[in-house]
């Protein structure tokens, strides 16, 4: 009798062990990531972003040096880590892209639809100016703790809205962000999915965007990440810097607050 008993225990142990292995999708690509090493082509995009920041442009042929990213006009170091945050001059919570668009319109005199005409690179592009700017600005917060604004009432309501959006199920497939990002150790195919409702999961995700995507050869921003996830959820197109996009990013930033920014990262 008891060797049958042992066989059962053995089967359970194997079951548990393989279950944990199966659910830890991350380990599968360790060898691949090690061989890639730390040579991240984002370095080139960071150089470009810096050049664009200082280059006069637009009808007013002004640079972006007077742009206030939240720490005062022209202060870039550490600014990304404290976004999204409330800006009194526009009476709204903004992410990096919404804020840069604002500066391009105010300081450089560019028309709103001109600035937002092509927010993200399309297949075959080498990267937009906004993506390069965000890459450099995020790099200027590398190593600093994520600390989004949460003092202002609108910052709190952005978080609350972001959390509700996170669970909002709609569209042909009834998906929400939570469908894929609410549990630990899960993956889609071999793509590990951070649990964004926890500090570790949100920190792992929020701290590594913007990121160079090896599959596209382009640095992609967190705003793009929100939009592309919505696309795969079978939702309509999420507008860059929109209230829903900013709220979702606020939800992630607050959940991940305290962790160090390590962007631009390197992603599939």
């Amino acid at each position: 009798m008891n060797n049958r008993f042992i066989k059962i225990i053995f089967a359970i142990v194997i079951g548990l062990w393989s279950a944990t292995l199966l659910s830890q999708g991350e380990g599968i690509f360790d060898e691949y990531r090690d061989m890639l090493g730390d040579d991240n082509p984002a370095i080139f995009v960071i150089f470009d972003g810096e050049e664009i920041w200082y280059a006069p442009a637009g009808p007013k042929s002004a640079s972006l040096e007077q742009c206030d990213l939240g720490l005062g006009p022209g202060v870039v170091e550490g600014a990304y880590a404290q976004l999204p945050r409330y800006f009194a001059d526009v009476d709204r919570v903004q992410d990096i892209e919404a804020r840069l668009e604002h500066c391009m319109i105010q300081l450089q005199g560019l028309a709103p639809d001109e600035v937002s005409a092509k927010p993200y690179s399309l297949r075959g592009d080498l990267g937009t100016q906004l993506e390069a700017l965000v890459a450099w600005i995020a790099d200027q917060s590398s190593g600093l703790a994520i600390a989004p604004g949460q003092a202002h009432a609108q910052e709190k309501s952005a978080y609350a809205l972001g959390e509700t959006l996170f669970y909002y199920r709609a569209g042909t497939h009834d998906f929400s962000c939570a469908t894929c990002h609410e549990q630990a150790g899960r993956r889609i195919r071999l793509q590990a999915l951070p649990n964004l409702t926890t500090h570790e999961g949100a920190a792992a995700a929020y701290s590594t965007w913007p990121a160079y995507r090896i599959s596209q050869g382009i640095v992609r921003t967190m705003g793009w990440r929100m939009r592309d996830c919505m696309r795969q959820q079978r939702m309509p197109e999420l507008t860059m810097g929109s209230e829903a996009s900013v709220a979702l990013q606020t939800y992630l930033a607050v959940n991940g607050a305290g962790a160090s920014m390590t962007a631009p990262g390197l992603k599939r």
Binding site: I28, F29, E31, Y32, Q191, S215, Q216
Partner: protein
Amino acid sequence: MGNLDPLGLTRRGLIRVSGALLVAAALPQKLWSAALRPESVFQTTTLDATFEALGGVPTISEGIIFSAPDIAENGAVVPIRIEVDASVLPGVSKLYVIVEKNPNPVAAVFQVPPNTQPYAETRVKVAQTGNLYAVAEAEGELYMMQRETKVTLGGCGG
């Protein structure tokens, strides 16, 4: 195999090529290299045709330490590293990176001058799961090592 010169040209081509090498030494590096790109090697579309263009089917050699990930997160960027143990396989003058199931299997050719280690590291596109080959040419003979890399459909599959 012996009479085929390293660039896979005919014997007559060999004389013309070695002549070019002498002249080339005086040219600025850029022009010199353009003249000598082994175009035929990059045109082949099957593994057999590729080995033929190289000069024959290489023999397996343990001297070639060929590193490639068992599974690649994305086929667009697959890191590979070729390191030849000169004590086992001396006199390597050329290294090839071959991706069997790519439209054109030869991804890269490395001409290794005498004072340079028989070593090369780069990143290649792998169209689909399949074999990768590191081929080394030493004293007119061809050797190889093979690795299989699995390329998966990444992301949400859409």
